[in-house]
């Protein structure tokens, strides 16, 4: 079975995927001014510090925009493929997959919650689903 295209594991991004492999959605934080940033970068664009750590996201967010992909269909992915741009409660944004919902369920502004998806080959990545009513 073909599997999804894997990210390169570079010094500036590999650590983020290692956290996903440990079932965590994390956000890079400047160690100097404590501003959060995503996608990760080696330098803080506010204070130019090269020191950083990360925090675990609470997993709650809302949908800033989305698309549902139909064509072309790339082996290793399932279509229609819903992709969301999510405003995390912590203030950063992330591009992710939307799961457990149909096209007509998706509306900009809807509350979402993160979970870690595991592919058949063991690769893990954070995805989002509609927030459960009890938690909304």
């Amino acid at each position: 079975m073909p599997s999804r295209i894997k990210p390169p594991m570079g010094e500036d991004n590999g650590w983020w995927w290692e956290q996903a492999a440990r079932d965590k959605l994390v956000i890079q934080r400047c160690a100097s001014c404590e501003v959060l940033r995503h996608p990760p970068r080696p330098m803080c664009d506010g204070c130019r510090s090269l020191e950083w750590d990360f925090v675990e996201a609470c997993g709650r967010g809302s949908l800033a925009s989305f698309t549902v992909l139909h064509h072309p269909q790339v082996p290793g992915y399932e279509y229609p493929l819903a992709i969301g741009l999510v405003d995390l409660e912590e203030g950063t944004r992330i591009v992710t997959q939307l799961v457990d919902c149909e096209r007509d369920d998706i509306t900009i502004g809807m509350p979402l919650e993160a979970l870690i998806h595991r592919d058949d080959d063991g690769f893990k990545l954070p995805v989002f689903r509609p927030a459960r009513e009890s938690e909304a």
Binding site: F66, T67, V68, L69, L85, V95, R103
Partner: protein
């Protein structure tokens, strides 16, 4: 302070190959044919050309073209980054070279087997880890690997915010297809597009349907840029460069500028508009026709706002069912059919049409065109250009 490029240089020659889905020749051949045609169109000798500029994404190096076409001793050669954002970046490089005296006659080109060869959106992968590869990986890992998918993300939010609908997008696609019906070199020639055809077409990346997306093309096109003075002595009425700029605002990414506060406008085009109007001393009211970059229909709507033809969120009404963008309307746009219905030469064919509009030789020529506005790709570090008739303001 505005730069001093205003009225220093002019586009004196244009050239293009036939546009097709399978050229049957190399990309080098396409580039050579287009450059050769542009030189002949201007009426200069190959050995007078001393500058060459192309896209970083072009597979053909400047010296390959120079050697094949028999160009002269080169004192200027350069490649511009960021895909279609380079479309006018080429003209910007050439204008700076001419204005500074670094070169006298500069050719710019794009030759691509964009359908039969490497297609856009085929994904990016490799073993060498660069910041560029990491950038794309945040999207490709999730399956978001085509230009349509990246543009759809911005279009969805814009359309919801301002109540723009698929019908509004269709009006743009249909207006430009109608232009292509008069252009024998266009992919859309002989292929009328109706609202029913549009609505029946398949979804590519919601909200984008097939007809919201540009062509994939094999072909080449090129231009020759020289000084405004020299251009007056050449074969055609010159298209003088009133203003030409590059623009990449804070927080810009390549295609995925999803992290700026504003998701319903195009900050790169707003910066391009500010700079090109400043440099030219012109404003939206001075623009008689346009070739706005149209890889995807929502980009046209959003740019009408960026360049000040209407207020934010008003483009869907400004286009007036498409009539405003056709000959006789407020802003005839992409009168050759554009990237949607003529060809996708990474935007350079739209600049070639801008020159025709100034010369008065478009296949859909509006009356009284003094100034034409052109833009390069949306969502990337980009560029913009205003051409004017010689002797004008």
């Amino acid at each position: 302070m505005p730069s001093t490029l205003r009225n220093q240089a002019a586009i004196a020659g244009i050239g293009q190959t036939p546009y097709s889905k399978k050229s049957g020749v190399s990309e080098l051949s396409l580039a050579c044919q287009a450059v050769s045609a542009a030189i002949d169109d201007a009426g200069v000798r190959p050995d007078e050309v001393d500058g060459v500029v192309t896209y970083l994404l072009d597979s053909t190096d400047e010296v390959e073209v120079a050697r094949a076409v028999g160009l002269g001793d080169l004192s200027f050669f350069s490649q511009v980054n960021y895909g279609g954002g380079a479309a006018i970046g080429l003209v910007h490089e050439a204008a700076m070279a001419v204005a500074s005296g670094v070169a006298r006659n500069v050719v710019v080109y794009r030759g691509m087997n964009g359908r039969s060869g490497q297609r856009m959106g085929a994904g990016v992968s490799g073993n060498i880890i660069t910041s560029d590869v990491i950038h794309w990986s945040w999207y490709i890992t999730y399956g978001m690997m085509t230009p349509a998918s990246w543009v759809a993300m911005i279009a969805q939010r814009y359309m919801q915010e301002y109540g723009a609908t698929s019908e509004h997008l269709a009006h743009i696609a249909i207006a430009q297809r109608n232009h292509a019906l008069n252009n024998p070199n266009a992919a859309g020639y002989g292929k009328p597009l109706s609202m029913d055809d549009y609505m029946a077409s398949r979804l590519v990346a919601d909200p984008l349907r097939l007809y919201d997306c540009c062509q994939e093309t094999d072909g080449g096109c090129a231009m020759l840029i020289t000084s405004a003075e020299r251009a007056k002595d050449l074969r055609h009425p010159p298209a003088e460069i009133r203003g030409v700029v590059q623009a990449s605002p804070r927080g810009q990414e390549q295609m995925t500028s999803f992290y700026r506060e504003e998701l319903t406008s195009l900050p790169e085009m707003e910066l391009a508009a500010k700079l090109v109007y400043e440099q030219s001393g012109l404003g939206p009211d001075d623009i008689d026709a346009a070739c706005l970059y149209d890889a995807f229909t929502p980009e046209v709507l959003m740019q009408l706002e960026s360049f000040g033809f209407c207020g934010k969120g008003e483009a869907k009404d400004f286009i007036d069912g498409g009539k405003a963008l056709t000959v006789g309307g407020r802003l005839p746009n992409n009168t050759h059919g554009g990237l949607l219905s003529e060809a996708y030469l990474h935007g350079l064919n739209n600049v070639v049409e801008g020159v025709r509009l100034i010369r008065g030789s478009s296949c859909n020529q509006p009356e009284g065109v003094e100034h034409v506005l052109m833009s390069a790709a949306v969502g990337v570090p980009t560029s913009a250009l205003i051409l004017g008739k010689a002797g004008g303001p």
